[in-house]
Symmetry: C2
Subunit: 157 residues, 2 copies
């Protein structure tokens, strides 16, 4: 069985533990920012996190929010939904297919729909949602980025 969801106090305790373990100072700002993330379910962008954190910490700077989000990502405390947020990436292949993505160098390769068992929904989508397509994003490190030579700053080790 997958492990049961922790509540927020438990997750904050785990957060303290992980910060200590990784040599990250447990600052007031970090705790507020991380709690704000735990309390949101709308996958906020940095600006939205900043707005929320400011309610509790009016003097926090946007730069601090950015720096800590990056720190949390590197520490694996957070995931980024938007792997390609740095720039628009185009795809002229209009036939259905999926993608293999390198989270480090951001390279994208196509894989055919036939390379995967069909994606089947077991539940209805939320009422009113109009489905357009399903894109499977297989994330990892490409051969070049997974090679020993480029593993100094690996994402997962």
């Amino acid at each position: 069985m997958p492990r049961v969801t922790m509540d927020i106090p438990e997750k904050m305790a785990e957060f303290s533990r992980l910060c200590t373990q990784r040599g990250l100072a447990l600052t007031h700002q970090r705790q507020i920012i991380y709690r704000a993330l735990l309390e949101t379910y709308d996958h906020p962008n940095p600006e939205m996190v900043y707005e929320r954190v400011r309610l509790e910490l009016p003097n926090v700077s946007l730069g601090t929010v950015y720096k800590n989000l990056k720190t949390f990502l590197e520490a694996g405390l957070l995931r980024e939904v938007s792997v390609h947020h740095e720039a628009m990436r185009m795809d002229a292949n209009t036939e259905p297919h999926h993608h293999l993505v390198c989270v480090r160098c951001k390279s994208i390769m196509d894989i055919g729909v036939g390379d995967l068992d069909p994606v089947v929904l077991r539940r209805r989508l939320p009422r009113g949602f109009r489905l357009q397509r399903v894109n499977v994003e297989i994330q990892g490190l490409c051969a070049a980025c997974a090679s020993p030579a480029s593993l100094e700053s690996s994402v997962e080790g």
Copy 2:
């Protein structure tokens, strides 16, 4: 059976047809830009498209590339891999799950791994690729964006 892949001359002919059909002028620049996209398999960003197009059209401007990429996206001639390129989107939920994405307002909702049949690869990944996770992105219009009131500039109609 899914339809067979067209070659580039066929796709360019289709491109002309679609431009005419949608009232888009068939300019020299548009043809070169679209052909450049058809010839690339690396899912380029606008800067990379610009560099490539400049080899054939040294006076093209980056703005023209951007404008036409946007036009092609709106016309459905192109797909954007990076739905969230506008900004980083954070996810504090570290348990495995998938996402439901509105391509219009960019809202993101979580769906559990149990809401989908398991994703099963039928082939090996390319040699050396180190898999980290599989993210299924169910794209479409959320209830609010699919409502008649907000459908003036719909993505698919």
